[in-house]
């Protein structure tokens, strides 16, 4: 007794959740793919984006202005981190970077608890995006459609910039061979700072967009980090294209799984990860650079 409406509802909600996952993994994937840095404070920037966003929506009384301001503020924080902490570690091992960014994540969580408290907070959606709509009998909340659209647009824009523009090819060249690209006259430190700041800004953007659905609280940072790491691992380390398709795969599988095999709901995600790691240890999509 599975109706067409039900299938479509699960599909659309799964796609929307998948694109939310893509939003939250994109920054991590980008920084890893472009800079070969595993940024374990990714979830923290996500959470801080949510907290600052909630504060700013109250002050500015505009969802969109607050979104813009949040992304800028957190990006600035990212710049400080890159210049002051991360830059000296580029030529060191992954382990050093992991230690640094993990330590930073712990500090940021404690800081967030100190500033915003431990209570869960939530972000009110603007009037135009409240409620739900019916699409061929399937019911989908309007805000989920907005998240879906944001995810698709972001994915397309990232792909275009990296694959089709001069800036993209410089970044890819910088990753492939730092010294050679620098010798050609490109300012590698500036490019790397730019990529890191952009990745952090993506985390803040995702944190803001997800706040009405997930809420914001200390502890969310590590939940998000784990999800994002899983996506990046399944997608193929550092492959943005991989992260995109894997997010959709997880979103849709989870949606149908929860609906028709609720007993398995808690571990569907890990099942997918285990299967991929067994069959294709390098991830579904191979990283093309580096």
């Amino acid at each position: 007794m599975i109706s067409f409406e039900a299938l479509l509802t699960h599909l659309l909600n799964g796609l929307a959740y998948g694109l939310l996952l893509f939003l939250l993994a994109a920054g991590l994937s980008l920084i890893f793919g472009m800079m070969d840095v595993i940024n374990l404070s990714h979830g923290s920037f996500f959470m801080i984006g949510g907290f600052i966003g909630i504060g700013l929506v109250g002050v500015l009384e505009s969802f969109w202005l607050a979104l813009l301001a949040t992304v800028l503020i957190v990006a600035l924080l990212g710049l400080v981190v890159e210049v002051a902490l991360l830059r000296p570690l580029y030529y060191r091992s992954h382990l050093d970077q992991i230690l640094l960014t993990f330590g930073l994540a712990l500090i940021l969580e404690d800081g967030a608890e100190w500033i915003w408290g431990t209570r869960i907070q939530s972000l009110r959606v603007p009037e135009a995006l409240t409620g739900s709509v019916e699409i061929f009998g399937a019911v989908v909340p309007v805000y989920r459609l907005a998240v879906l659209a944001a995810g698709v647009l972001l994915g397309a824009a990232l792909w275009y910039v990296l694959e089709r523009t001069r800036l993209g090819s410089i970044i890819r060249a910088g990753v492939a061979d730092r010294e050679m690209t620098a010798a050609l006259g490109f300012n590698i430190p500036v490019i790397f700072a730019g990529v890191f700041v952009f990745g952090v800004a993506l985390a803040a953007f995702a944190g803001f967009m997800a706040a009405p659905i997930l809420g914001v609280y200390p502890g969310l940072d590590f939940q998000v980090l784990i999800l994002a790491l899983i996506i990046v691992v399944i997608g193929g380390l550092g492959s943005l294209t991989g992260a995109f398709w894997v997010s959709l795969l997880i979103g849709v599988t989870q949606s149908f799984g929860q609906a028709y095999f609720p007993a398995a709901a808690a571990f569907i995600l890990y099942l997918i990860m285990a299967a991929v790691l067994l069959l294709r240890p390098e991830g579904l999509f191979k990283r093309r650079y580096a």
Binding site: N13, T118, I120, P141, G215
Partner: protein, 396 residues
């Protein structure tokens, strides 16, 4: 290398003996408690993590009680010694051990999570140390006949079963059941199911998502398709916020019911308008009109500049139970049997209204039916709409 090894081993042994000596001396010192010595009350609550706010509310209310007593009970100064349980059973049990063995506390109070409560019951039972559960609702905590265990919150049964009967009386005889898939969720679900089925209701569907689900859309779609007149749910903390918000987001029209924790004073600020109309049962409602509640609210607001929650009420009653019992024994906390007996006979003056302990040391109390409404001043809060009087846990 070898010589160095012997040297280090010797040094370590000396160090260990020294530490041991200090420990023994410390224990001897703490053992001589009597007249004028402080009453040591161990408090095990989460002060970090998702339930930190609950821990703070309970502690603040306990401190409020003792402050009003001049921080002295029966001529003995009162010392609250707090340990963070982080809502992790292992940390919680370790914290209780520290308080019992190192701090030599006379009484233990706290336990937000049921898992912590069960662990602590095991270690306090042997030494007969009075343990006052200030929040955990696990039915078995007071059903296993441990004489040293008292509860001032409620059993899961008390905040779920009565709603089954109540709804059928109200003409709601079809319910969809949905709760988080863990111990407390299962107890609340089965308590409700029992009461509802006995009263003649029909469960039209059930779905139980795992804890910390971030996206409820598949579950909500199933509820929507079943199109029931009402949904009974148990979620707490961030799960409650997400579930209630997404419930509204999907435009489900079924009336939402549940134990009070789904639209708690703690989650309401984040849920906002999404919570309006939700009906729940709990052993407290902030608008209760009795003098004890009015007095408590005024004192709590003055001291901490925020409204008391059900957790604060539980903290107050926990401190009351301990304080009044020690008064009754004239400050003697050494004779644990006498102290426990005194606790059994304490008369409560609780902000929640009438309250007494049954033979299992679980409260017999009124259960209030509340509805979330927007008040005249614009705030969103629970309003009492009905009272189910003197609800007692069946004890088995």
């Amino acid at each position: 290398m070898g010589v160095e090894g012997i040297g280090r081993g010797f040094f370590l042994r000396v160090l260990l003996v020294g530490v041991l000596g200090l420990l023994v001396a410390g224990c001897a010192g703490a053992g001589e408690s009597g007249e004028g010595e402080p009453v040591r009350i161990g408090v095990i609550l989460p002060y970090s993590g998702v339930y930190a706010q609950l821990g703070e509310d309970i502690t603040d209310a306990m401190e409020l009680y003792f402050e009003r007593e001049g921080n002295e009970i029966a001529g003995r100064p009162v010392e609250l010694i707090t340990e963070d349980t982080e809502a992790d059973p292992q940390v919680g049990v370790q914290a209780a051990r520290t308080l019992i063995e190192r701090e030599q506390v006379d009484v233990l109070a706290g336990a937000v999570s049921t898992a912590v409560a069960y662990g602590v019951i095991d270690i306090t039972r042997r030494d007969n140390i009075p343990f006052v559960i200030a929040n955990a609702t696990g039915n078995d905590a007071t059903r296993q006949g441990a004489r040293n265990v008292f509860r001032v919150s409620a059993s899961s049964w008390q905040v779920s079963y009565p709603m089954g009967e109540y709804l059928v009386e109200q003409g709601v005889d079809e319910i969809f059941l949905s709760s988080a898939d863990y111990a407390a969720g299962q107890e609340m679900s089965s308590g409700f199911r029992e009461g509802f089925l006995e009263a003649g209701g029909t469960i039209v569907g059930e779905v139980h998502p795992p804890l910390e689900t971030s996206d409820y859309s598949s579950y909500l779609t199933r509820i929507r398709q079943a199109d029931p007149p009402g949904v009974f749910s148990f979620y707490a903390g961030s799960d409650a916020v997400r579930f209630v918000q997404q419930y509204r987001e999907f435009g489900i029209e079924a009336q939402l019911y549940g134990p009070g924790y789904i639209v708690d004073e703690d989650t309401l600020p984040a849920q906002g308008e999404a919570a309006i109309g939700v009906r729940t049962i709990l052993h407290y409602s902030p608008d209760l009109d009795n003098p004890e509640n009015q007095e408590f609210k005024a004192a709590y607001e003055e001291a901490y500049d925020r409204d008391p929650t059900v957790y604060a009420v539980q903290g107050w009653d926990a401190a009351w139970l301990i304080g009044e019992a020690i008064k009754a024994t004239d400050g003697n906390t050494e004779d644990r049997d006498a102290l426990i007996e005194a606790m059994e006979n304490v008369e409560f003056r609780s902000p929640r209204g009438p309250m007494e302990l049954d033979e299992n040391h679980n409260p017999i109390q009124n259960i209030y039916v509340r509805e979330v409404r927007q008040l005249d001043d614009g705030t969103i809060d629970n309003v009492m709409i009905d009272t189910i009087e003197r609800v007692q846990d069946p004890g088995e």
